[in-house]
Amino acid sequence: MTIALLIGYLFVVLAIGLWSRRRLSNTGEDFFVAGRTIGPFVLLMSLFGTHMTAFALLGASGEAYREGIGVFGLMASSSALVVPALFFYVGTKVWHIGKSHGYLTQIQYFRDRFQADHLGLVLFLVLVGLLLPYLLIGVMGAGLTFEQITNGQIPYWVGSLTVCAVIFVYVTSSGMRGTAMVNTFQTLVFMTLGGLATVVIMSKLGGLGAVMDHLQTHQSHLLVRGEHISPALLVTYSAIPLSAGMFPHLFNHWLTARSAATFKGPIIFYPLCIALVWVPSVLLGMAGAVDFPNLQGPAANGVLIMMVEKHAPGVLGGLLAAGVFAAIMSSLDSQTLALGNMFTQDIVRHYRIGGEVSEAKQVWWGRLFIFLVLALTFGISLVAPRSIFKLGIWSFTGFAGLLPILIAALFWKRATAVGAYASVFTTAVAWLYFFSSGSKTIGTTDIMAVTAVIGLSSITMILGSLVSKPPGNLAKFF
């Protein structure tokens, strides 16, 4: 039953993607940013679905299983505060500049703003390097989830390949338009089914009060933040959601908005979406400690699936499994499209590989790169160690470290290419230092390394800009 429902779900996703193709015109702008015609509801759903990876469902419930209620304050309420603020101050401005100058990628803007061709290439390499592990985590997560949900009937590689194939078909056939529509559907699916799973499972366990009473007696540490999530960690973890400002896939979605006013709904209702997804995840993770009290290490990340298998078998279990896939695929598709867009615009079109690149040819290149990105990611997913999941937080750290470049480019006339180079270099060095130390925090403190990376990146952006001459094209941007 579960497998049948999952296959049915994937067919629905394909149908929506292919249905969206009917409005596709064969231009780069339409394929990569949906002709800048997306309205507020689809923008909210696609931004949220893209930003929330499977981690919000599986990883968060695993963290709540280990750490308890503090996970919501640490990861969810920080995003509810930081991300809409980024949309307000950064996203709308990016949209405005993108629309005014016809930009389709971040690199196009940075190259033009700083009058620095090579800076674009450096940033391209860094952004792709940070996004690929993120993509890999999604593909591997899909394979592992498929295997776990079907009790091994569908092996890991078949699950990963299936998800890659489905994404390939609808992203290449209808571009951003189809991706946004599919994301909207998938976001609604995982938001609805998360809530439904919570109600069903909690009632099977005797209700919310009974679960809390049980935890109070047997695992009371889960009901307070206590010592394991200190105020210093709570403060500095807030820097992680700043990564959203530099994600190429969110940048792409910002450019799809029909108008600046389209952002109003997403800004206002983003915190509601966060609550709708994270409250069920945290509650189910904690409830998992009632049913499966001794899960160790990575096994805790499977607690949500285990709860569904135990308390909601059959149709509901299959639907909930579809919800998990919705969360995985709604990020993977946008990331893949963003990479295809970057290779097409920032490499092929910029360097005129194969001569002048017509609108139709842009779409052709985009499809080719989407295929290559997915094929490469799937290939690596077959040999990559599972410890790669730990790279997620480091990917966020790197993107957050690059945000000062975008902030300076948008708001500071004095910002220069030298400052941007210095910022990229500093981010890379600081990132490598903390990554090689193996600790997400600085030394023995609870201060997240990402704060040091952002701080150093900002300082070098400022100093580098102050010792160099600003570009002569400021009137174009201010």
């Binding site: 919501f72 809390m212 009901l223 108008s259 600046a260 109003k264």
Partner: protein, 74 residues
């Protein structure tokens, strides 16, 4: 962007700073009480997140820097 809009944008930026501080609820660090059926430390952050809807509504309403018709900065 007009001066009043820009000024309101700065005020809302400062208000975001205040909210950032309010999010760090050290007073709930070890509080085992329950509110609305949930541990108070969780209920606080849920209500905080839902309260942000009102905050961002006010921000969009009073500090929106764009003209809704032309899309240009107002």
């Amino acid at each position: 962007m007009t001066q009043p809009t820009r000024r309101r944008g700065v005020w809302f930026l400062l208000a975001l700073g205040v909210l950032f501080v309010l999010r760090i609820d050290v007073w709930n660090q070890h509080n085992t009480a329950r509110l609305l059926g949930l541990p108070i430390g969780l209920t606080y952050h849920i209500l905080f997140s839902l309260g942000l809807i009102a905050f961002f509504y006010l921000m969009v309403r009073f500090a929106w820097p764009y003209d809704d018709h032309s899309g240009d900065e107002s």
